[in-house]
Amino acid sequence: MAVMTYRDALNLALREEMQRDPRVFVIGEEVGLYEGAYKVTQGLLKEFGPRRVVDTPIAESGFTGVGIGAAMVGLRPVIEMMTFNFALLALDQIVNTAAKMNYMSGGQYNIPIVVRGPGGPAHQLAAQHSQSMEVYFYHVPGLKVVRPSTPADAKGLLKSAIRDDNPVIFIESETLYAIKGEVPEDPDFTIPLGQAVVRREGTDVTVVAYMGMMYRALEAAEALDKEGISVEVVDPRTLRPMDTETIIGSVRKTHRAVVVEAGAGFAGMGSEIAAFITEQAFDDLDAPVDRVTGANAPMPYARNLEKLKTPTKEKIIDAVRRVCNANGS
């Protein structure tokens, strides 16, 4: 175990996988000479050279297609989106080509790529540069979608994503790159895709949250503890495939659930989680699943408005109180 930042954990995962497998290479804007707009690829060009650390022009659809083509004939590209906001320009490549190729070819051509980069709310970057992008991917059969909340998860899940034989969308966060945590140094350490984790044990209510919202949820849990409300926090980590069992298991125990997401709520991840919890644990629920979501608006630039856009610890606390005071028990 070593304490390192989320950024360094990602960097270490890339380094280890590139050392382990010569087919793995990194491609994207500013990943080489500039060492990454957010420095996630720092030192890679020096260590692996321009053949395996490839700077591209600003052509998201183009270099994503390059990754897909390279994957068709035996390579394992890690494609960096400088930020996921720009992934919409490559969405056709990801959805219509990468995600469907194995199916359309009857299993002949699988596409082992990772598309990674930061996404989600950032600091005063406004509507075009500060949005939750996972919504464009987790609905798509053929894709896997990961949102790692901690340094250890960042490392373990990125390594699994790179080793996975399918297209994996791996969305990090500008606001988490600097956080520190314990990270296993063992190069064989990986975390399987599709496994949620209980971040905090509790008995009264289950709060499902990932990325920055997971930290808000833990803070809320601390505060609620003092009121005698015991909150269990579950982090899905992988959104597709979703580990419904761990979440349902927790709800069967607590009988109450709050789902938190940073994105605008309507038809988001929270909708699906609330829906399957209700379907699978209806009789165990003492209250309807409550959703705490980002405001249903684009991201404003003004600092004060931006604060109102994304769920706060307080909003989560209110929701937990709501479900606890609801009928039943």
């Binding site: 297609g65 083509g69 080509t97 194995n102 359309m104 009857g106 053929g142 896997k144």
Partner: protein, 330 residues
């Protein structure tokens, strides 16, 4: 710049027979596919390359088996020429279990890894960057193959054409982009879609060597492609070729010969340059092959295609469980 037409006949008997055989096989395969579409054995979209056979055959005849080919939804000819089994191709068109893609892809999505045929892609322009990626991998792996990417004149207006040409030139990748310019994108003629209708000229903007070729003359296609492959394989650099060709049928089986956007006269006039007739007359005239040879080839391709149809017809539907297989590779 006029398209370079083949100078001398310059093919031996075997080659002549092989080229004729392949072109006639593609023609026959698609005629039968059309029949079976009418019969309801084939569904969805069916795009025929009838009239364009010389491009697929001429180009592929200059490739090595380990070279890669990637194409559009109008890919039957490219797939057959690369060496795929007509039986499994027809079974795919029928949507049957023995199809190349287990019946899941259909006519627009033929893939055959055994011959390095990288598919059938139906989002216009989307496979051009993918081809660049194949070229990237060839270079990364230190191989000496090339990747041929066929696309239509309609794809030229898409952004991915530009992104791809810039990337393959910037990175010096062994990709040969071959535009099958049949002068129409569905109902839109070149003049109504492109500021520059001499498509090969776009190569200059990216410093990519490019030339037009007579897509109705299989030997002209061989000559130009030969130069391109030679260059791409040795220098590991891209080439852009524009094959001037014509689609005798409608855009798809749902487009009745394209009556609205082009005249009957134009179509009839173009049919005078039917690539199969042209080449047949040429090799007969030069005495490279005999009438009997031609009849033999005719019989052979008819048999092959009949077998293919019979095979497809006999192949069972894919089992229900297959709806959920191949979504992920585990």
């Amino acid at each position: 710049m006029a398209t370079s037409t083949s100078t001398n006949i310059g093919v031996d008997e075997d080659t002549a027979k092989r080229l004729l055989h392949q072109m006639m096989l593609i023609r026959r395969f698609e005629e039968k596919a059309a029949e079976n579409y009418a019969l309801g054995n084939i569904g969805g979209f069916l795009h025929l390359s009838i009239g364009e056979e010389a491009v697929a055959v001429g180009v592929t005849s200059m490739l090595r088996p380990d070279d890669y080919v990637i194409s559009t939804y109008r890919e039957h000819g490219h797939c057959l020429a690369k060496g795929s089994d007509p039986k499994r191709m027809m079974a795919e068109l029928f949507g049957r279990r023995d199809g190349l893609s287990k019946g899941k892809g259909g006519s627009m999505h033929l893939f055959d890894k055994s011959v390095n045929f990288l598919g059938g892609h139906a989002i216009v322009g989307s496979h051009l960057p993918v081809a660049a990626g194949v070229g990237f991998a060839i270079k990364y792996q230190g191989g000496d193959q090339v990747c041929v990417c066929y696309f239509g004149d309609g794809a030229v207006a898409e952004g991915e054409f530009h992104e791809s040409l810039n990337l393959v030139s910037l990175w010096k990748l062994p990709v040969i982009y071959i535009c099958e310019n049949n002068r129409y994108a569905m109902g839109t003629s070149l003049e109504r879609a492109l500021a520059e209708t001499e498509i090969y000229k776009f190569g200059q903007a990216y410093k990519i060597p490019s030339e037009p070729m007579d897509g109705m003359d299989v030997l002209a296609v061989r000559e130009a492609t030969g130069r391109a492959i030679e260059r791409a394989r040795t220098n590991k650099t891209p080439v852009l070729l524009e094959a001037r060709t014509y689609r005798f049928r409608g855009h798809s089986m749902r487009d009745p010969a394209g009556a609205v956007y082009r005249t009957k006269d134009e179509v009839e006039h173009e049919k005078l340059r039917d690539p199969i007739l042209l080449f047949r007359e040429r090799v007969l005239g030069a005495g490279t092959v005999s009438v009997a040879d031609v009849q033999g080839i005719e019989k052979d391709v008819n048999d092959l295609v009949d077998e293919a149809v019979a095979f497809a017809d006999a192949s069972p539907e894919p089992p229900s469980e297959w709806l959920f297989t191949d979504i992920y590779r585990d």
